[in-house]
Symmetry: C2
Subunit: 238 residues, 2 copies
């Protein structure tokens, strides 16, 4: 549990020297108090997990020597999470949870009732990296830039179905058990829900299925985690 | 969406005057900037939701006049959440999410690998109240005091089944679809999992079912929300 893990965007293989940037070297030497010779685990999102020995870790950077593979690469199912960004802490939370629970790609989307005009894509990507480091993963979901919902839907590949957790649902919900496997995206609205125009468009799309998340109103971050769990259990790799 | 809601631990009925304590009066008058005459929604966890008019709100307290019932009382299914407290922010989060998602009772439990020796029960209860206020609920789950797991299991009523989200599961998981309805408790371990002795005891209990939450290691707060979602969808009121 206490194993130190580091995401490194660099090819990994036995005997491969890997450079550390200043932030990584400071984390290992300054924060975690590791000395040269200490062994950590590294991953790059593509080549599984590897043990690596610290060769040097100083103020301006350092380097690792990669030893051997400790776990194979394991990618999540082909599930995207499309969500409207909310307050900072809750947006961070959604990204962390989506990375933990096995989303392959995370797409912040701007809706009519979205509060945020922009996001810090780099900060959210760093959260996804940290979640993978903490949780023993070998995959890091990519965070897309904020895009308007109409543009996202204009360019949507109809072979990827959308699971819409619809707060204001009238009529019966789809049940996950009967839905086909394959590429999916979960769509979570902002706190104020979707506008009438957005709802009409979503309802008319043949690749959209609506599900209910129960009789209580859920915050957007709760709805995201709940929908991820239901999808993973019914159609994913749980 | 912008309706102001307040939990009041007092009987509610048309024409009923309700006293406000200093904190409640400050919230309405000082924080939300409401004046006497403004109408809010109140609930007490037992009698549904009611509209109420502010009669007075000053530094030392105030009062409301209850107008009429706006929603019936709605209680969640008979589901408890038993969890090992973790870091403060994540424990707060578990309580908030459990209240939103419809847990009837929340029981912090001390396990061999639990970091916390004590909890602030009053602070956690306030979080549950706030979650119900925010999410339009009429029910507030009670937060129990921290209890050691062995004592909790010694006094356990065997008619309440336990759904154990077992990180270190060997062998096949139970599937939720086949499990009976009725009183349940979800059990979530601490970050380090359960000890061998705890695991042996849990496995031997005839009212415990184990489920898997997938191949990735989840943080305890993520596991709690995921298990709540799966239980609600399969056996609850979603």
């Amino acid at each position: 549990m206490a194993r130190i893990r580091l995401f490194i965007d660099h090819p990994l293989g036995t005997g491969q020297p890997v450079p550390l940037d200043a932030a990584q070297a400071h984390y290992l030497g300054g924060v975690m108090r590791l000395s040269p010779g200490a062994v950590i685990e590294v991953f790059n999102g593509r080549d599984g997990a590897w043990s690596a020995r610290i060769a040097s870790a100083g103020k301006r950077g350092g380097s690792l020597d990669v030893l051997e593979q400790t776990a194979p690469q394991r990618n999540p199912p082909d599930l995207w999470l499309v969500f409207a960004p909310i307050k900072k802490a809750r947006t961070d939370f959604i990204v962390e949870k989506a990375a933990e629970m096995g989303a392959a790609r995370i797409l912040p989307v701007q809706t009519e009732f979205t509060n945020s005009e922009r996001i810090r894509q780099d900060r959210l990507q760093a959260h996804a990296v940290e979640a993978a480091e903490q949780c023993g993963g070998t995959f890091v979901p990519a965070i897309a830039d904020l895009a308007p919902l109409p543009r996202l839907l204009d360019g949507w590949d109809a072979s990827r179905r959308i699971l819409w957790a619809d707060e204001a649902m009238a009529g019966p919900a789809d049940t996950l058990a009967g839905l086909p496997r394959g590429p999916w995206a979960i769509l979570i609205g902002p706190e104020g829900g979707f506008s009438d125009a957005e709802r009409a468009r979503l309802r008319a799309l043949p690749f959209v299925n609506r599900i209910s998340l129960g009789p209580r109103i859920l915050r957007a971050d709760t709805a995201a985690v709940a929908a991820l769990a239901l999808w993973q259990a019914a159609l994913g790799d749980w």
